[in-house]
């Protein structure tokens, strides 16, 4: 049987607010256990939540960023369940009336085509704490630093048909939220966690199959592998005439399998009801416009502008744009005088490679945008051959100064003076009579090949500084003069 995968995603995005969603505690990652938990976070008797307005603004930013409808009146609800790292015995979330309502997010696939994903909703909620199982023998520690961290849970319709689409969406989402500045998007620190709802159905069918939910997958690669592995599992069951159990599963990255999370098939009853300690969030058009005015240029618009304004191809634009800092770097190079196409090539080529090798972020690049622009200018004006340019780039990376200083210090200037080149060419011809004779006797195709020998000798004699194009022209002229 041929199966179609149907996938919907729920992303828990940690918002990069200074303080927690309902308390004044800081949200910095990595603090010592429980150092960032106050009486509110601990659920102490008599404590009350106070909504952090910044979290609301971030949620509205997100809604506007995907063109979604903003709920005029959204309400917090209590989601009730017992767990040691859930201090109040309920999580404050939004169930009945979310802050971000339906919208459509257009995800650019690699070929530049846009694939629309329907966003069902996005709602604000507080994160729970963390149970620490490995710090004490036979006991579990509770770290409530994360309790109360603002989350935006972003829910899609089941609009994905492949793992690749799901990952493309997640990458685009990651790009969007970092552009909006509402999240650091740091997946390793749990800033973006993904629940995957997945079911299979016969190709061509409209009905949805029974789904499973894979909880808490925290990297793009794991999302892709988890989907593939769950597809295999479900397809295997269905191919053998079995049926899928609706359940929550966990992805085990080491074994590359998903495992059932709960043995009991009891549906949780969270007993949602409106949180009486908080007022509804009322958002008017004026507020929405004030937030809209702060929106930066978003990835989609930037991609279009990069192709239109700088003549970049879709491929380069799609590589430059998702990382806000990289896109900014590119524009800084262009502003500093570097031509756009070579700028894109250098950034996506040598610079990215060097950054990756040294595990350095673009924002900490040892080669500044201005320096890279200086290098590109010297290539464009013929001062540097591409071979020399690589040397200069390495020197830039090593911190030896600007391109011009390096060229000067190392005497790397390309020789384009025709007089000087002419004498070099003549000297090489004079020194290699046998090769000249061979060249003259050969047919045109062979001549082309043999000319490489002379070019090589000339470049060697010039220590690589001869302008190769001019050398080629002069050489051809002089060789033909010999006949």
């Amino acid at each position: 049987m041929s199966w179609e995968t149907v996938i919907g995603l729920e992303v828990h995005l940690q918002l990069a607010t200074q303080s927690k969603i309902f308390s004044g505690s800081a949200t910095v990652f990595g603090a010592a256990p429980n150092e960032q938990a106050d009486a509110v976070d601990l659920g102490m008797p008599g404590m009350l939540p106070v909504l952090n307005e910044e979290a609301v603004r971030y949620a509205v930013k997100f809604g506007l960023g995907i063109g979604a409808r903003i709920g005029e009146r959204s309400v917090f609800d209590r989601k009730n369940y017992f767990y040691p790292d859930l201090p109040k015995g309920y999580q404050v979330s939004q169930f009945f009336a979310p802050i971000v309502c339906e919208g459509v997010f257009e995800v650019a696939l690699e070929d530049g085509t846009l694939y629309p994903i329907r966003i069902t909703r996005a709602h604000l909620e507080e994160d729970a704490g963390k149970s620490v199982h490995d710090a004490f023998s036979r006991e579990t520690g509770i770290d409530l630093n994360r309790a109360g961290t603002p989350l935006l849970e972003i829910v899609t319709e089941p609009d994905f048909r492949s793992a690749e689409q799901a990952v493309a969406y997640l990458k685009a989402l990651h790009s969007l939220v970092t552009y909006l500045g509402i999240s650091d998007g740091n997946m390793a620190e749990g800033s973006m966690r993904c629940d995957i709802n997945i079911s299979l159905r016969e190709k061509g069918s409209d009905a949805l199959g029974t789904r499973t939910e894979i909880k808490n997958v925290n990297s793009f690669r794991f999302v892709e592998r988890a989907i593939h592995s769950e597809y295999e599992r479900q397809a295997d069951i269905l191919d053998n005439g079995g049926s899928i159990t609706q359940e929550t599963r966990l992805y085990d990255a080491e074994q590359n399998v998903t495992r059932s999370m709960r043995s009991k098939e009891v549906a949780n009853d969270y007993r949602y009801f409106p949180e009486p300690d908080l007022l509804p969030i009322v958002i008017d058009a004026e507020y929405i416009e004030s937030v809209r005015a702060t929106l930066p240029e978003l990835p989609g618009a930037k991609r279009m502008r990069f192709t239109a304004e700088y003549g970049l191809n879709e491929y380069d634009a799609a590589l430059l744009v998702p990382n806000h800092s990289l896109a900014d770097y590119f524009e800084s190079v262009v502003t500093a005088g570097g031509a756009a196409k070579p700028a894109a090539n250098w950034i996506l080529g040598d610079l990215t490679a060097a950054l990756n090798r040294s595990e350095t972020d673009i924002t900490d690049s040892p080669v500044s945008a201005k320096q890279l622009a200086g290098l590109i200018v010297r290539i464009e004006d013929g001062t540097l051959s591409s071979k020399l340019a690589k040397q200069v780039f390495d020197a830039l990376w090593a911190g030896e100064g600007d391109a011009d200083q390096i060229i000067e210090a190392r005497g790397l200037k390309q020789v384009s003076d025709s007089g000087a080149l002419e004498s070099m060419v003549e000297a090489v011809i004079a020194a290699n009579p046998a090769q000249v004779a061979q060249y003259l006797a050969a047919d045109e195709a062979k001549q082309k090949k043999l000319s490489g020998f002379f070019v090589g000798q000339i470049m060697k004699a010039s220590k690589g500084q001869a302008n190769p194009q001019m050398v080629n022209e002069l050489l051809l002229l002089k060789l033909n003069d010999q006949s």
């Binding site: 008797p45 008599g46 106070v50 015995g89 309920y90 007993r271 908080l278």
Partner: protein, 492 residues
């Protein structure tokens, strides 16, 4: 000045004596502390005393007074219901669950009254987590009514009302979720005010039902309640539901003038179910107000009879979540040697909570469960709006609504304990006021068989001034509020 004069003086009178240096706060405070020590063995109204702290605060108050630097309550001794968190002073909420709980923070009410110079003597007994109308559900034992030691003081602020009536302090605080200030005030013959929902910050008050809970003062006069409310009220950045409205000086706003005041008498309160003697006392009090210039108007609150059912869905539902934090993990009671997590939860909560609290958690959990939410919680929310609209419509025609505070006088211990619904009926005249978020007060309206009866006055939202003023006038024209139990009989 005799001890008796000190122990039965009003806040406004004592305040004047303090300012005139006729008495020091330390003398007054010591008199109250001695009174507590003398009577508490019989009454059990106070759970925790903080004598040293009180003497220190009193001395500080005396110094401030000597410098002419005083707030509205400087030097006035005060007892807080043990539902208000007090920094460094044990706060139990009447529960085994919090028997050892010492908060590291003051409730806003506590810090505001402290800032006005009040001297905290200790913490008052109460029904466990404020769930009860007789103070019989407290883990710390029942409170006796100072008017008759065989009777309940009412609840849940029963310790506060009894302490006040017994002369332990001139001012006490309470909270009122469904009648918990007004009903014990009625049963103990004192004045108690439940302000409009949002008037007083809930921060630091241990939550029972968040959308209904409201703190207020209990005192010997309406005038004292006006002084105390002014000190307690106001927006609090720490409580999102506190109202962003200016707080008038309720004391300065009192003037005895009720000429033209329209007082509505809901048919549903004065029907055949009303005890004839209670009716007689309430009507007598209302006729005093009528003679002072008020008009009595027949009104309807047609959905009144839904109030109890509505309340007993919403309040337990909210409580079921509010009390989920008492799980034995971070603070509060933890069972011995739990074998696993479920055992920890199950036994900590079963052993830490009393029967009534468990009953309400179960009821609330049920009302919110999948499949029942619409039938119970959602329906109750709808009815709550209808009940509120009843009041809104009535207030188009009248300025104040009057009725009894409680269906009868204080009853003997155990009389209603086996029948939760009979107990819930105690709040039949008060619950709807909480559902609608309105201010209400109870003022003494005489005695039946030597036991106090209260008149309830209900005001428009945030119009505490009008009901305080009406009670103030009543207390000028009558002396019911001056009636005191036999204080001597209480001391050993």
């Amino acid at each position: 000045m005799t001890d008796n004069a000190l122990l039965s003086g009003s806040v406004s009178a004592l305040r004047q004596q303090l300012r005139d240096r006729a008495v020091s706060s330390e003398e007054l405070t010591r008199a109250c502390l001695e009174r507590i020590e003398a009577c508490n063995g019989k009454l059990n109204a106070v759970i925790t005393m903080c004598s040293e702290l009180a003497i220190d605060s009193a001395r500080a108050a005396d110094k401030a007074i000597a410098k002419g630097d005083f707030g509205s309550l400087t030097g006035i001794p005060l007892l807080h219901k043990d539902i208000f968190c007090t920094d460094g002073v044990r706060t139990t909420c009447g529960s085994r669950m919090l028997e050892q709980f010492v908060p590291a923070y003051d409730a806003t009410v506590v810090s505001k009254m402290k800032a006005e110079g009040a001297v905290m003597l200790g913490k008052c007994n109460m029904d466990e987590f404020a769930m009860g109308s007789s103070n019989e559900t407290s883990f710390f034992g029942t409170v006796k009514n100072p008017w008759d030691l065989n009777c309940v003081p009412g609840g849940s602020s029963g310790g506060s009302a009894a302490a006040l009536a017994a002369g332990m302090a001139p001012l006490v605080t309470g909270t009122d979720t469904g009648g918990s200030i007004r009903q014990p005030a009625s049963l103990c013959g004192v004045t108690g005010l439940k302000p409009t929902y949002g008037r007083v910050s809930r921060l630091g008050i241990i939550a029972f039902a968040s959308s209904l809970d409201q703190a207020g003062p209990m005192a010997r006069t309406a005038e004292d309640c006006a002084i105390a409310l002014t000190a307690m009220a106001g927006i609090d950045a720490g409580d999102s539901t506190s109202a962003d409205l200016p707080v008038p000086d309720f004391h300065a706003g009192l003037n005895h003038d009720i000429q033209g005041l329209r007082i509505g008498l809901p048919r549903e309160y004065f029907n055949d179910d009303l005890d004839p003697e209670v009716r007689e006392r309430v009507m007598t009090a209302l006729s005093v107000l009528e003679q002072a210039g008020a008009t009595l108007v027949d009104i309807e609150l047609p959905h009144s009879h839904y109030a109890i059912a509505t309340y007993y869905v919403i309040a337990p539902a909210e409580a079921s979540a509010n009390l989920a934090r008492y799980d034995g993990v971070r603070f509060g009671y933890r069972c011995d040697e739990p074998v696993d997590l479920e055992d920890l939860y199950l036994r900590s909560r079963s052993e830490g909570f009393g029967e009534e609290v468990q009953r309400r958690i179960l009821v609330g959990t049920y009302a919110l469960s999948a499949g029942f939410y619409d039938a119970y919680f959602n329906k109750a929310q709808q009815v709550r709006r209808v009940i509120t609209e009843d009041f809104t419509r009535a207030f188009d025609r009248v300025d104040v609504i009057a009725g009894p505070s409680a269906p009868g006088i204080a009853f003997p211990f155990g009389a209603k304990q086996q029948d939760p619904v009979a107990m819930y009926m105690e709040d039949i005249y008060t619950l709807a006021v909480n559902l609608a978020g309105l201010p209400g007060l109870s003022t003494p309206a005489g005695l039946i068989n030597g036991m106090p009866v209260g008149l309830q006055l209900i005001g428009k939202p945030f119009d505490e001034q009008t009901i305080l003023n009406a009670a103030h006038r009543l207390q000028r024209d009558t002396d019911w509020h001056l009636a005191r139990p036999q204080l001597e009989a209480l001391a050993p």
